[in-house]
């Protein structure tokens, strides 16, 4: 079991983080906005954490990071007094970074969202792709982001010999809270307004729903989530650079949502978990003893072909995604009538 966690700890954490990212793209989509800006906010969040943890907060006295914390950061660290013995960095500060990253992305999203959300459909998608590209060029050229090499040696809030799986202590509650938030949102007045806008903007406006307010709100919620996720990812990856959150990532995250299901909160989560694990599963399947050579070499060399084919077939056979509100309902009805009732209400 230890061996299993050592090998797959990082993969599991990465699956959870990708699921959060998928949720962050799902939020604007809930209000009918095809925004691909999530990786941009993800990158900003990561840079916030990387810069703060390597240049501003520094670290705990007596660790290899040397410099004592100043009074302010000590106070911040004390908010969440759980620092595992031997860790180079207090977990509390990671949470603070996530907060700052999320806040910054939220403010930026308001500024960008107000003009950008006048665009619709593919035009908004294009504008958000441009936003991601602008951020990438900025990151390559600003001195504080470390150019192309980026920032490395981001301190770990766990002891030297701990595996990446330790991050589950932050990541699991983070995904659970995010999922719960979106789940509740779908059942709230605001969430229903989002969905109404998605299904028919004209009708929704006629009913008195303010389209600009709700679109920007959904966009900002997604940005905050992506920013927090980025801040956490920077610690998990141990390094951050301009290749995080590029156009490729935008498309990948969109695939999570499309394959998983774009109309219910569970869809993006399933999509993010499954599509992140898939290439690694194929890697392992290729290594199984006793497979014919051609099959195992196809599985290892062609695993990305299989990945692409699965996405293509997924879209063909599950145009609404694997998880749809209808399927959830049907499933909920059969075992327990009470759950079904909840799903309907």
């Amino acid at each position: 079991m230890d061996q299993f966690i050592a090998t797959y700890g990082f993969l599991m954490i990465n699956m959870l983080l990708q699921a959060v990212l998928a949720l962050s793209l799902y939020l604007p989509l809930m209000a009918g906005q095809l925004s691909l800006a999530a990786p941009g906010f993800f990158a900003i969040g990561g840079y916030v954490a990387a810069v703060l943890s390597t240049q501003k907060f520094l670290a705990v006295p007596g660790t290899s990071y040397g410099e004592p914390l100043n009074a302010f950061t000590l106070w911040l660290a004390g908010i969440f007094p759980f620092t595992p013995p031997g860790a180079a960095y207090p977990i509390g500060l990671v949470l603070v970074e996530m907060g700052i990253g999320g806040l910054l992305c939220g403010i930026l999203a308001v500024v960008i969202g107000l003009p950008a959300l006048r665009l619709r459909g593919i035009y908004l998608a294009l504008a958000t792709i441009a936003f991601v590209e602008i951020l990438r060029v900025l990151a390559l050229n600003l001195p504080i982001t470390g150019g192309a090499i980026g920032i490395f040696g981001i301190p770990q809030p766990f002891p030297q010999d701990a595996t990446k799986f330790s991050y589950a202590i932050i990541t699991v509650p983070f995904l659970a809270l995010a999922a719960w938030f979106v789940y509740r949102l779908e059942r709230s007045r605001v969430g229903r307004a989002f969905i109404a806008l998605r299904e028919d903007e004209l009708a929704a406006t006629a009913m008195g729903i303010d389209p600009t307010y709700h679109k920007v709100l959904a966009f900002v919620m997604g940005a905050v989530l992506a920013g927090m996720c980025g801040a956490l990812s920077a610690h998990v990856l141990n390094t951050w650079n301009a290749r995080q959150g590029t156009f490729d990532a935008s498309i990948l995250i969109l695939a999570y949502v499309i394959i998983g299901g774009s109309r219910v909160w569970l869809g993006p989560i399933v999509g993010g978990l499954f599509l992140t694990a898939l290439p690694e599963v194929l890697r392992q399947v290729a290594g199984i003893d006793g497979l014919p050579v051609w099959l195992s070499s196809f599985l290892s060399d062609g695993r990305l072909i299989i990945y692409g084919l699965l996405i293509a077939f997924g879209v063909l056979f599950f145009p609404q995604g694997v998880v749809t509100p209808e399927r959830l309902e049907r499933k909920a009805k059969s075992p327990s009538p009470r759950a079904a009732e909840e799903a309907v209400t």
Binding site: T7, A148, F152, R243, V285, D301, R303
Partner: protein
């Protein structure tokens, strides 16, 4: 989801069978190769795969590790950090004694700490950023950093024309490598007491460089240094010549490729390029490597393949030494990984790159660097890198003078 669980279960079974088969005789020594076989970095990764494969075939023919064959285990890192971490984790669980990889420095900053924690020696075949060996005790590299390779071209240019006084520097502002390389070139020029004319910037997507060239040409530069990629750099060189510049030109590492020949054609002739590997380097091992590569691929081996070959060679020679002194059979996996790391840092190697050794940190001490001159054939489309000079360096003096890991410089 259940498919994932199933394959994990199958993997666990696989691990069991691997550990059972460990008792057999002449069991191969497994070396992991984690490079970018897919993604937009695959161009480099594929060359590294070829280099590593040639090395393992060659050393297995020579008898492997005192009779035990070498088995390379390939895991694709793709071009991102998560991919590199996953590939490293898979290889570590797959009982390799050491890993060659990853392709990019950025990937190394994410994945190397994993290997460091697991106590698995890493040899980076192509990480040139500052701060790579400093990641940990188990991390070494056979790729000399930019700051060490680039200045050699300037020294070679001064050998050819000692009267050089004014230097014009051009660089592609949107290319990461060019940006860091030009910093090194400018420092070298200033350190040698030459006059640095105002630095000119361009984009890798540019095709017209008249503005930049006319900015500096009236100031009569004796040497022009270009850091860019093949297409833009080649065009810049062509336009420099067309506008009447006749002095020496140095191309950065981005021009260290045959792809530049069709771009500047006859105008490429005479451009100097500093190299960490030279096809023309005469030694027994480089002749062997070059002959096998040329036979397989029908072209001259590039630097990436030579460095990957060297990385595998370092592991093989260190394993043989370890087997001779301690005996590999007497060590369990963890101990053989640790002792392999200590052994490989202490030895000296004769490689296709020339003689090399490591600092205790794991930084490469490459004895020789090369400067080549582009010589174009009469058809104006093809040419070759002709060997100009090999430059003996003081062991890693420049690297140790700047031990602080400044990102992005």
């Amino acid at each position: 989801m259940s498919r994932r669980l199933l394959s994990f279960a199958v993997l666990a079974a696989l691990l069991l069978t691997v550990s059972i088969s460990a008792a057999q005789d002449a069991e191969p020594v497994r070396i992991g190769i984690a490079v970018a076989q897919t993604s937009n970095v695959a161009l480099f990764g594929q060359e590294q795969v070829i280099g590593a494969q040639i090395a393992s075939d060659y050393y297995n023919e020579q008898g492997g590790i005192n009779g035990r064959p070498i088995e390379l285990v390939f895991q694709d890192t793709a071009g991102d950090e998560a991919g590199a971490i996953n590939a490293f984790q898979t290889l570590i669980a797959d009982n390799v004694v050491g890993i060659v990889g990853p392709t990019l420095s950025q990937q190394a900053f994410a994945a190397d700490p994993i290997a460091e924690q697991a106590g698995v020696p890493i040899i980076a075949p192509s990480n040139t950023a500052r701060g790579i060996p400093e990641i940990g005790a188990y991390i070494a590299r056979v790729s000399a950093p930019v700051a060490v390779v680039a200045p050699n071209a300037v020294r070679a240019a001064l050998d050819i024309n000692p009267d050089i006084a004014r230097v014009a520097v051009f660089y592609a502002q949107n290319d990461a490598f060019a940006t860091s390389e030009t910093g090194t070139f400018q420092e070298t020029v200033t350190a040698l007491g030459l006059e640095l004319l105002p630095v000119q910037q361009f984009q890798t997507t540019d095709t017209d460089f008249t503005t930049q060239i006319t900015n500096v040409l009236p100031q009569n530069p004796d040497l022009v240094i270009v850091s860019g990629l093949a297409a833009d750099g080649g065009n810049l060189i062509r336009q420099l010549r067309e506008l009447g510049y006749e002095g020496l030109i140095i191309g950065g590492n981005g021009l260290n490729t045959a792809n530049v020949f069709p771009v500047c054609q006859a105008f490429c002739d005479g451009v100097l390029v500093a190299q960490a590997y030279s096809v023309s380097y005469e030694s027994e091992i480089n002749t062997i490597f070059r002959d096998i590569y040329t036979e397989q691929q029908e072209k001259n081996p590039p630097q990436f393949s030579a460095q990957a070959f060297t990385a595998v060679q370092v592991f093989v020679e260190a394993l043989i030494e370890l087997d001779n002194t301690v005996g590999l059979d007497t060590l369990d996996l963890a101990a053989s990984r640790t002792q392999l790391n200590e052994t490989l840092l202490s030895l000296e190697y004769d490689t296709p790159l020339g003689p090399l050794s490591f600092t205790p940190d794991g930084e490469i001490n490459q004895g020789t660097f090369y400067v080549a001159r582009i010589e174009m054939n009469d058809d104006g489309q093809t040419g070759q890198f002709a060997f100009v000079a090999s430059i003996e360096t003081e062991p890693a003096a420049e690297v140790e003078a700047t031990p602080e890991a400044t990102p992005g410089s």
